[in-house]
């Protein structure tokens, strides 16, 4: 894990004091809400439906045991005893008091954490593949460059008042687990024909009311040039991104208006100048220095087969969990374990202070240095000895954290929705809970296989509904909540934007509609097709016919 040195630590402490002074002036009335807003947002503080919400940065989703304990402490002392993991690998507290926030930030600083740029029209907290450094299909660990990007983007003097927010994700594996193509900008580690690694830079992806898939602007950016290239893109955006309409202010709109050729031309012009100046070059020594923090733990030389693990597989509950929640690790005898935060009927992404503390203990007792937050609102143990898995599973079970559903239909992403958010048009969480209960039967979930349901309570798409195999969008029709279905989206390397099926379903019909869509898939699939594959093969029509069937009967 990255560790702050004296400079990083002083930077974050200064930032806490700066925010304390801003809050003081706000409480005294020297700053009005409009003036205070951009600064509180740059420290992750939102004003929500019922209270302030504080979003804490978990850079590229990595947390230590010490940090987990601090989050548990904050949940207890300043909030209602729980936190909520988000689709950007961050953690939100929904009930802090404004006057307490500087103290919360000070406590966070003591464990090398902050809330810098988790909101506002600036470069947001950078995200990365949650299997980084562990996945078998990884070319190179993306976290060192994520950290380099974090430092470069922290209080960037030129880019702190952008037209709109700017989200960067980083990946370095064959399988895209970071939804790269749906980001304002994404960096993908690739190898060229000469076998050297460098970066592909994608620009202009996004969700919201006009979803776009990012296109490539940098085909192969050499390693020392990364920051110069990223700064060039930001510069084009800051100068030309639209500022007249908040809904057209993201870089995706500029990227679409300029087109790929013109965007490349403009970026390359800035890049030529920045590269020549040399000021932003990332020397190899710096890259190595940062990468050293992310060196993999000393893996034991193990045989890949573990008798303890194999014996435990005879227990059905463990076998079920192992089937969906374990992924292939690069080291023999190790596995990557996903801890689902999607208990049947629960709130996706919520975690109590007891669970946070217990997870910290779990890390300590099995000698694990870190845990990860995934953008799918789950947690991940990146390096687990297979022989330890039965014991870890038993502990997770006691904590209510052993739901065996990673990647299955009940592993649902949902935004906070109208239960918390003042932008929402409809509730998301209750719909997620009902779908989860409807498909609770594990045999049925395994039969259905990989199926990603993503729910947003409004067009801003925080629940990533555009990228759901089945996406659900809450809309408001004359004060009544309706839910539109979208099919065929994907946030992976085969990224696609879901197609809208048609008119929305009422709160009491949406779960039935989802079930009919799933049944249609089960009838139509051939071989080992996933839902997404079947949808891509047969198209919307058969799903649509079935989904609206009941309503047609009712109408006749």
């Amino acid at each position: 894990m990255y560790r702050y040195d004296e400079f990083d630590a002083a930077f974050v402490r200064d930032r806490v004091n700066q925010f304390r002074y801003q809050v003081e002036r706000r409480l005294k009335g020297e700053l009005n809400e409009d003036q205070f807003k951009p600064f509180r947002l740059m420290n992750g503080l939102y004003l929500q439906l019922h209270a302030y919400m504080l979003r804490i940065a978990v850079p590229y989703g990595t947390l230590s045991a010490k940090q987990l304990r601090m989050l548990a402490h904050i949940a207890r002392k300043y909030d209602k005893g729980y936190g909520h993991f988000t689709t950007r690998q961050n953690l939100q507290f929904n009930w802090p008091k404004l006057a307490d926030v500087p103290d919360i930030l000070e406590e966070l600083a003591s464990v090398e954490m902050h809330a810098i740029q988790t909101s506002g029209n600036c470069i947001r907290n950078v995200t990365a593949d949650h299997f980084a450094g562990a996945a078998a299909d990884e070319l190179e660990d993306p976290r060192p460059i994520a950290e380099i990007i974090r430092q470069w983007s922290s209080l960037h003097p030129e880019f702190s008042f952008l037209p709109r927010k700017f989200k960067i994700a980083v990946g370095g594996a064959a399988h895209d687990r970071a939804a790269l193509k749906f980001h304002d900008m994404a960096v993908e580690i690739i190898k060229n024909d000469a076998g050297e690694s460098g970066y592909r830079v994608l620009v202009g992806g996004g969700m919201g009311r006009t979803p776009y898939i990012a296109y490539t602007v940098g085909d192969f950016v050499a390693k020392p040039d990364l920051l110069a290239f990223l700064e060039s893109v930001l510069r084009v955006y800051n100068e030309q991104g639209r500022r007249d309409n908040i809904y057209k202010a993201r870089i995706k709109i500029l990227a679409s208006a300029l087109g790929e050729t013109e965007m490349r031309r403009q970026v390359m012009r800035e890049f030529a100048e920045l590269k020549a100046s040399g000021t932003l070059a990332v020397p190899d020594a710096e890259l190595k220095r940062i990468a050293a923090y992310f060196a993999p733990p000393a893996f034991e030389k193990l045989s890949d087969a573990s008798p303890e693990f194999d014996a435990a597989l005879k227990e059905q509950a463990f076998a079920d969990w192992a089937k969906s929640n374990l992924a292939k690790h690069r080291a023999p005898g190790y596995a990557i374990a996903t801890i689902s935060l999607k208990p049947i009927g629960g709130v996706p992404g919520d975690c109590s202070h007891e669970q946070l503390d217990a997870l910290a203990d779990l890390l300590d007792s099995f000698g694990m240095a870190e845990i990860r937050v995934s953008h799918e609102q789950n947690l991940v143990l990146p390096h687990v000895r297979k022989k330890d898995l039965p014991a870890i599973f038993a502990r997770l079970k006691e904590l209510g954290l052993a739901t065996p559903n990673a990647g299955l239909i009940t592993d649902i992403i949902a935004c906070p929705g109208l239960d918390y958010c003042d932008l929402a048009n409809a509730r998301s969480i209750p719909i997620a809970q009902q779908i989860s209960e409807r498909f609770a039967d594990l045999g049925r979930q395994h039969d259905i296989g990989e199926l990603k349901i993503k729910i947003s309570g409004c067009i801003n798409a925080c629940g990533h509904h555009h990228a759901g195999h089945i996406g659900i969008l809450g809309v408001d029709k004359k004060g009544v909540e309706y839910y539109q279905l979208q099919l065929g989206g994907s946030g992976a390397e085969d990224a696609s934007i879901g197609e809208i099926m048609g008119p929305g379903f009422g709160e009491h019909d949406i779960v039935d509609a989802v079930e009919r869509v799933v049944q249609t898939y089960l009838k139509l699939r051939t071989g080992s097709e996933r839902f997404l594959d079947t949808y891509r093969r047969v198209g919307m029509e058969p799903f649509k016919n079935m989904a609206y069937l009941e309503q047609l009967h009712a109408a006749h």
Partner: protein
């Protein structure tokens, strides 16, 4: 409006001149529109003068003439409009402008440190921002990660010397 230049209270030697007003026999600031229209006459004068850029007007529009100017005023129509941060940076690094870059309009105490970093060296400030307050704003964040037009040593450079 008080002027703070290079961190201290300063007198404003420039007169803002409207697009149709006669030019005074003193240092004047004109809009980009007027500058482009009366370019030759303005450049022929022996008096220092400046150009005022709206937030949507890139300094690139001044072309090579930028070196003939003593002052460029960057407008901040509302504090959320951050384009002038890029214009100032462009003036200092790409165009090599060494004259005064002045911020005018709606900007906040909390933005001053960013503004100085991109190369703005003069500020038309509200009364509440005294030179003391200005210095305080600059001292809040002692360390920076990015190289910028102010040439301040970055954390990476400090690490190398630590």
């Amino acid at each position: 409006m008080p002027l703070i230049k290079n961190g201290a209270a300063a007198d404003d030697k420039f007169v803002a001149v409207g697009d149709d007003a006669p030019l005074p026999d003193a240092p004047a600031v004109v809009s980009l529109t007027r500058f482009l229209k009366e370019r030759e006459a303005l450049l022929a004068r022996n008096t220092a003068f400046g150009v005022r850029l709206k937030s949507g007007e890139s300094p690139a529009l001044l072309g090579d003439d930028v070196q003939r100017l003593s002052l460029i005023v960057l407008e901040f129509p509302k504090f959320r409009d951050g384009r002038a941060f890029s214009w100032a940076r462009m003036l200092r690094t790409r165009l090599g402008f060494t004259g005064e870059i002045r911020a005018s309009g709606d900007f906040l105490y909390d933005q001053l440190a960013f503004m100085v970093r991109v190369g703005i060296d003069a500020f038309e400030v509200p009364e509440a921002i005294t030179p003391d307050a200005f210095q305080r704003a600059l001292s809040e964040m002692r360390l920076v990660y990015q190289p910028a037009a102010d040439g301040k040593k970055t954390i990476r450079e400090l690490r190398a010397n630590a």
